[in-house]
């Protein structure tokens, strides 16, 4: 078994090592040529795919349920310990395979697509870091370790949205996605703490921590918060179209394939605990249904290629959530894999939209059957108008978030700042002047 354990360690660490080595070299002033970067990328992902194939073959041959590698604990503080456990089981393997194949393909695509782009190396560094993060998240044997991978996926996602740093829109939108991620990641962190507190461990390499009743419900709901944020489920969906500011291939792999399904992976991971809690299952289904409807309606009213693809993705991820809530694990898994493939291809082809549409248009003979007519037939004029406006503003989700969450929060913080400075002036010291930027308040 040592054989496939080595392979698993290699698969997870390889992109991480590439990232660190290239980044360090870059830091000391050596910028490798494009061809070197793309060769390394190709070689690493090809080797990893082979290694993964070996793991799968060994598992199938021996009939073992999983490959587990334990490095002991990273650190221990009183009762708390941080176990370093990698595990590849029947749930991890498909996700690992998907990550490797798609990252490799995206690497191949980007070598051509980003040729001569000043941020070429930066893009590939982030791609490797992202691959490392998702492989770590999918191969982690404990939630503690999963958090590490999860955060890496989050930060690379944000940095790639803000890839074109010289314009303001990508940076602003990246920051917004970052804020939503951070807010939702609280769920994951608190969930892990709760598991440690109640079950003494957050490792699932030997089965999920045993929790029942309300405790199970609470942990599931906390993890659901994290999953929903990462998967852009209602009510957090507003960030998804904003994430389309990055280069096309990163939109494809993040929001068509891997990052968007990471939330589903998390839920699949805790599925045995989820089935014990009717409340949590119901919430998962409710969020999934709401997202699917929200996604399909917003997508229908979008007239640009990437937004409409983003919402098409969202719709199917909503359906995946429903499947998980109901307990159809296998269907959810097949759905995720198929969906990732379809969407990656569609995102990569998005710039061809014009070409493809004109071709299709002429093949059909110039008369396309109109779409969306049944909506107009079924609904009354007033409802139609309302629904169309609702869809066009993407369910008003961002507006609601701005007006009823962010704005009051900022007012509150300003109030505290004022109180603070009053207190300071009472005590005879001068308060630092808070600097407000006009742009920060712009969208409320």
């Amino acid at each position: 078994m040592a054989y496939s354990q080595t392979m698993l360690v290699f698969v997870v660490l390889a992109p991480g090592v590439v990232f660190s080595v290239l980044a360090l070299l870059w830091l000391v002033g050596w910028t490798p040529r494009e061809r070197v970067v793309s060769r390394i990328t190709g070689a690493v992902f090809s080797a990893s795919i082979l290694a993964l194939a070996v793991i799968i073959w060994r598992l199938a041959a021996t009939g073992a349920p999983a490959v587990t590698v334990t490095f002991g604990n990273w650190f221990t503080v009183h009762d708390y310990h941080f176990p370093l456990v990698l595990m590849a089981d029947h749930l991890s393997l498909p996700f690992l395979g998907m990550t490797l194949v798609l990252s490799g393909l995206i690497g191949q695509f980007s070598a051509t697509y980003l040729h001569r782009e000043p941020g070429f190396l930066r893009f590939f560094l982030l791609l490797h870091l992202f691959a490392f993060g998702s492989l770590l998240a999918f191969a982690a044997g404990s939630f503690d370790l999963l958090v590490g991978g999860w955060e890496m996926v989050g930060i690379t996602s944000v940095l790639l949205i803000a890839f074109f740093q010289q314009r303001t829109a990508p940076v602003e939108n990246g920051l917004r996605v970052f804020a939503v991620y951070r807010a939702c990641d609280i769920g994951l962190l608190v969930g892990v703490f709760a598991m440690h507190d109640w079950a003494g461990t957050a490792s699932f390499a030997g089965g999920l921590p045993s929790l029942t009743g309300n405790r199970a419900s609470i942990v599931c709901l906390l993890l659901l918060l994290a999953a929903a944020g990462k998967a852009a489920q209602v009510p957090f969906s507003g960030w998804l179209p904003r994430a389309m500011e990055g280069p096309t291939p990163s939109s494809a792999i993040f929001y068509g394939a891997i990052s968007i399904h990471a939330g589903a992976y998390l839920l699949l991971r805790v599925q045995p605990m989820l089935v014990q809690s009717g409340l949590a299952s119901a919430m998962v289904i409710a969020i999934g249904v709401a997202t699917a409807i929200h996604g399909t309606m917003s997508g229908r009213a979008s007239a640009d290629a990437k937004t409409s693809l983003a919402y098409a993705s969202l719709t199917q991820v909503g359906v995946v959530f429903v499947e998980i809530g109901i307990g159809w694990k296998a269907i959810a898994l097949v759905h995720i894999l198929g969906h990732a493939m379809v969407r990656t291809l569609q995102f990569l082809r998005a710039p061809s939209m014009l070409h493809d549409y004109h071709k299709m248009h002429s093949a059909i003979g110039g008369e396309l059957s109109p779409t969306g007519k049944h909506l107009e037939e079924l609904l009354s004029e007033r409802v139609q108008l309302w629904l169309y406006r609702w869809s066009l503003d993407h369910g008003h989700l961002d507006t609601i978030l701005d007006r009823f969450v962010i704005y009051p929060l900022m007012r509150l913080s300003r109030l505290f700042a004022k109180l603070d400075s009053m207190g300071l002036s009472l005590s005879g010291r001068e308060a630092p002047v808070p600097r407000h930027s006009a742009a920060g308040q712009g969208n409320m």
């Binding site: 697509y113 829109a169 009213a301 007239a303 640009d304 409409s308 379809v342 969407r343 003979g365 712009g442």
Partner: protein, 936 residues
């Protein structure tokens, strides 16, 4: 607001006029599916170039020239010589600043060694730790700075603060524009589009029950109020202008600012208002007034909600100090480069000091860039004209003695220059000509696979004739089966396209069939060329191709299309005219070869929203194959030849015309109607096809030298494969470099340029002054060539010098919106102009026209046409002439034509183009390509 209220009516008219004027500044680009190159600054074309770029840069906040650093770099690598700078300075009036210093010497010193730019933001740092601090270590410089700082330097204007309501209203406005203009991308099209933008938006947003962003709350009430008073768009705009208390004189300025906040979307509205037929699939009633009404209503609500407040960032006092320092630094730097000492500065009289400061100010960054740019162009002009003068000695070698084996017509396009040269190198007995790529056949054409007909001619021409492609009688059934199979395929594609995005069908299709997508995904990315070949092969197997013919005959005098009113086909005389209009100016009136090939061109690439920008400009942004095919078919008609003979164009009976198509991206060449070729000509054909095969490989190789990603020492075969792969690669942002690097247009005989390596940078138009005593042909050629080439050249110029504002930035984040254009990310303005990947290796110079005629004859033609006159007199192009007899060259300068002389050096000689360009990636100078065996 009743319509017959008189004063209101006239205010409405005034407003319409103001909107129309303000709208002129918007980009001319239509829906991107048919890309036509325009002068980006078309609105400023009535001004001289140098003035226009400056005015436009103020208006649009854009750059007029390259950066000073870029010109400095050009100076350093010898792309600009000092003599060019001197010549430019000398051509402008000199003045005495003070006894020791003339304007010219001051300017010369400010250009080279050159002065630095200073601004208030960085000045403190620079005096404390930066380059100025280093200067100050020399006591003389320190003293000089202090001396300058001590004397008063007059004030400058401050830049205006940016507006802030844009960020509030743009998300909604952009979304509304994109769904309103959508050509079929959204599953659910916008409701009530037929009412126009303003009314449909009002109907949509006025009902209660929506949630608006904080600063737009009340938009529904405002729209409801406007609905209640049944405002028209004009009323809404007037209402805004009145409430904001703008007087009529300010209207145009206010509206301009509003329109220029989102020029892409507003510009498209305007284009579609002017010409609704530009919309590729769905006609939508556009109007700029509607756009303004919506925008201003939103702006009004936003500013009422108090969004427009801005917070000052720093104390204004401190800034003033910094500005004073930076002003002093500018004068100091100029004083430094002309070696003034602190003493001299102190001793200058007030008048002298003021004169000095104002001279320094007049030679600010913009002015220096202008001079450097003129020098940059002058260097290029000298190179080209010297090369042409030097080529004259080889002229004798360019004339063919025997009857040519074939004559091939290309488009004037500069991308065909290398193809022509390659063809002549492949077979020295081939003659090549060029003519604007629609080959005189302005036609409304519909191929068997096209759903609608389209105009195949320059955009300024309206076709009067229509031609269809139809299957030959025996292949009718084949076409039927092709039609329904294509339809089936199309429906299948559409269904999978739509269903993968919907809820329930998407569920089924992604779960059940999703994994199958891995096949195209992997195919496209790992083996793009082979995968494309496989698809082609499957297409061929599934879709039979009928042999076709064109409906070019019209026997009855007046048979018109019932709906279009277009004449069906061409009558014999009309055909004759078309053929003569190409052969005449090209001076191909005798000595015809047995085979004459006419090659149209276009470009096909994958994953490229700007695909059409690479197509033929003379065909209105379409692919010129049908025009070439039609021309050949006409020229083969016996009755046409009979008429031509009467006009002195004697085509012998053994000459046969073949139409064809050259794909400038994959370098494919396809010839049409070969089954009609007489058996006697088969040998000629195979010889020509062989030469064309060689030529396309050579051409691919020459193009590939510019691509960094093409291996340097690849074999010709591998290079051809590389080029073919580019056109099929899903990830390729630069399938070809298009018109990039274009710089010159030569109108004259091929003997002027044959064997001359022109680096694919020169438009070539065939013209022979000897056969054109009345200058009619010259007028015809100029009318066809100048607008097309000028549009291309200036669009590349502006998209290069300011790719962010005049161009559309990098392609990588582009997002196709509504099938009409591209946005950056999910909600930006519609980006117009060319992307960086298309222009990155361009050299921004105005197109240099070199015309083989005399200055007098040229100016006669130019002065007869208002549009030519404007372009020439305002110097949007550079003009030179070559005397057809003496070869003397004249260049047009501000004051008229000047003879160009100077030493004529011998051209470098190479034995083939490949030898000259091999292993080089940069722009190359001219060279004489001495063909092997001395065939010429």
């Amino acid at each position: 607001m009743s319509q017959d209220d008189h004063p209101e009516q006239s205010r409405g008219d005034k407003l319409r006029l103001a909107v129309e004027h303000a709208g002129h500044l918007l980009p001319m680009q239509g829906p991107i599916g048919v890309f036509v190159h325009h002068n980006t600054l078309h609105a400023f074309q009535d001004l001289p170039f140098e003035q226009a770029v400056i005015e436009a840069s103020h208006r649009f906040g854009a750059e007029p020239y390259m950066t000073e650093a870029a010109y400095r770099a050009a100076l350093a690598r010898g792309r600009i010589h000092l003599e060019d700078i001197d010549a430019v300075c000398d051509s402008e009036p000199d003045a005495v600043v003070f006894p020791r210093l003339s304007r010219h010497s001051l300017r010369r010193a400010m250009m080279t060694p050159g002065v630095r730019e200073f601004d208030a933001a960085t000045i403190l740092w620079r005096t404390e730790q930066g380059d100025l601090a280093r200067d100050f270590r020399q006591p003389a410089l320190r003293a000089l700075f202090d001396a300058c700082f001590a004397r008063i330097i007059a004030h400058e204007d401050e830049p205006a603060a940016p507006r802030s309501v844009d960020e509030i209203i743009h998300p909604w406005l952009i979304r509304l524009c994109s769904v309103f203009l959508d050509q079929g991308m959204a599953y659910w099209p916008m409701l009530h589009r037929e009412k126009g933008f303003y009314e449909s938006v009002r109907t949509l947003l006025a009902p209660r029950g929506g949630i608006f962003p904080r600063y737009l709350t009340g938009l529904d009430e405002e729209l409801e109020r406007q609905e209640y008073f049944s405002f028209s768009a004009t009323d809404a705009v007037l209402d805004y202008l009145d409430t904001q208390r703008f007087c009529e004189a300010d209207w145009e300025g206010v509206l301009q600012t509003e329109l220029l906040a989102l020029p892409g979307w507003a510009g498209l509205m305007r284009r579609l208002e002017e010409d609704p037929s530009l919309a590729p699939h769905e006609t939508v009633p556009c109007s700029l007034m509607d756009f303004l009404a919506v925008r201003l209503t939103m702006a009004r609500v936003a500013s009422r909600e108090g969004a427009a407040e801005t917070v000052p960032q720093e104390s204004p006092l401190k800034n003033q100090e910094k500005r004073r320092l930076s002003r002093a630094a500018r004068v100091y730097d100029a004083a430094r480069v002309v070696s003034l000492s602190a003493d001299e500065v102190t001793r200058l009289s007030d008048a002298e000091w003021t004169a000095f400061v104002s001279e320094v100010k007049a030679c600010n960054g913009l002015e220096r860039r202008r001079i450097l740019h003129l020098a940059y162009e002058r260097w290029h002009e000298r190179e080209i004209l010297r090369g042409l003068a030097s080529h004259r000695q080889y002229r004798g070698l360019c004339e063919l003695e025997a009857r040519p084996t074939a004559q091939v017509f290309f488009c004037i396009d500069e991308r065909e220059e290398s193809m022509r040269r390659a063809l002549e190198e492949a077979d020295a007995a081939v003659e090549t000509f060029s003519s604007a790529g629609y080959f005189g056949v302005a036609v409304d054409y519909k191929g068997i696979d096209d759903p609608n007909s389209a105009a195949f001619c320059p955009v300024v021409v309206k076709p009067r004739h229509s031609v269809f492609e139809q299957p030959k009688a025996e292949d009718r059934e084949l076409l039927e089966s092709r039609r329904w199979r294509r339809r089936l395929l199309g429906l299948l594609t559409r269904n999978s396209f739509v269903s993968s995005r919907t809820l329930m069908r998407g569920w089924l299709s992604t779960t059940v069939l999703g994994l199958l997508s891995a096949v195209p995904l992997i195919g496209h990315l790992l083996a793009p060329r082979r995968y494309a070949k496989l698809r082609d092969w499957m297409n061929k197997a599934f879709l039979p191709e009928p042999r076709t013919e064109l409906t070019l005959m019209r026997n009855t005098a007046q048979s018109q299309g019932a709906v279009t009113g277009l004449l069906m086909g061409f009558a014999a005389l009309e055909k004759t005219e078309r053929v003569a209009s190409v052969l005449g100016p090209a001076a191909l009136t005798r000595r015809f070869a047995r085979l004459v090939v006419i090659l149209g061109h276009g470009s096909s690439s994958l994953n490229n929203p700007h695909e059409s920008a690479h197509d033929c400009g003379a065909c209105g942004g379409r692919r010129g194959g049908p025009n070439a095919r039609l021309f050949a078919a006409m020229a083969n008609r016996p009755e046409v030849r009979a008429h031509l003979r009467e006009r002195g164009i004697d085509i012998p009976p053994d000459t046969w015309f073949i139409g064809g198509y050259h794909d400038t991206c994959s370098d494919d060449v396809e010839l049409y109607d070969l089954d009609a070729l007489p058996a006697t000509h088969q040998a000629d054909l195979s010889r020509t096809v062989e030469s064309l095969e060689k030529a396309r490989a050579h051409n691919a190789r020459e193009r590939a030298r510019r691509f960094e990603s093409c291996p340097e020492n690849a074999s010709p075969h591998a290079t051809l494969r590389h080029v073919e792969e580019r056109s099929e690669h899903l990830a390729e942002p630069r399938p070809e470099y298009g018109h990039c690097t274009n710089a010159v247009c030569i109108v004259g005989r091929r003997s002027l340029t044959r064997g001359l390596f022109l680096d694919r940078r020169v438009f070539l138009a065939s013209y022979d002054a000897a056969q054109d005593p009345g200058d009619q042909s010259l007028a015809a050629v100029m009318a066809a060539v100048v607008p097309v080439c000028t549009g291309i050249s200036l669009e590349y110029y502006f998209s290069f010098v300011d790719n962010d504002r005049y161009g559309c930035g990098t392609k990588l984040p582009h997002n196709v919106a509504g099938l009409v254009g591209v946005m950056d990310g999910h909600a930006s303005d519609l980006r117009t102009g060319l992307p960086w990947q298309m222009v990155e290796i361009h050299e921004p110079v105005r197109l240099l026209f070199v015309i083989e005629t005399t200055p007098e004859r040229l100016m006669k033609v130019v002065n007869a046409s208002a549009s030519l006159k404007q372009v020439v007199e305002n110097r949007w192009i550079r003009v030179a002439t070559i005397d057809p007899d003496s070869g003397r060259i004249h260049v047009r300068r501000n004051s008229g034509f000047e003879q160009f002389d100077g030493p004529v050096e011998r051209l470098p000689v190479a034995f083939s183009s490949a030898e000259w360009y091999g292993g080089k990636i940069e722009h190359l100078p001219m060279a004489w390509i001495q063909a092997e065996g001395g065939g010429r």
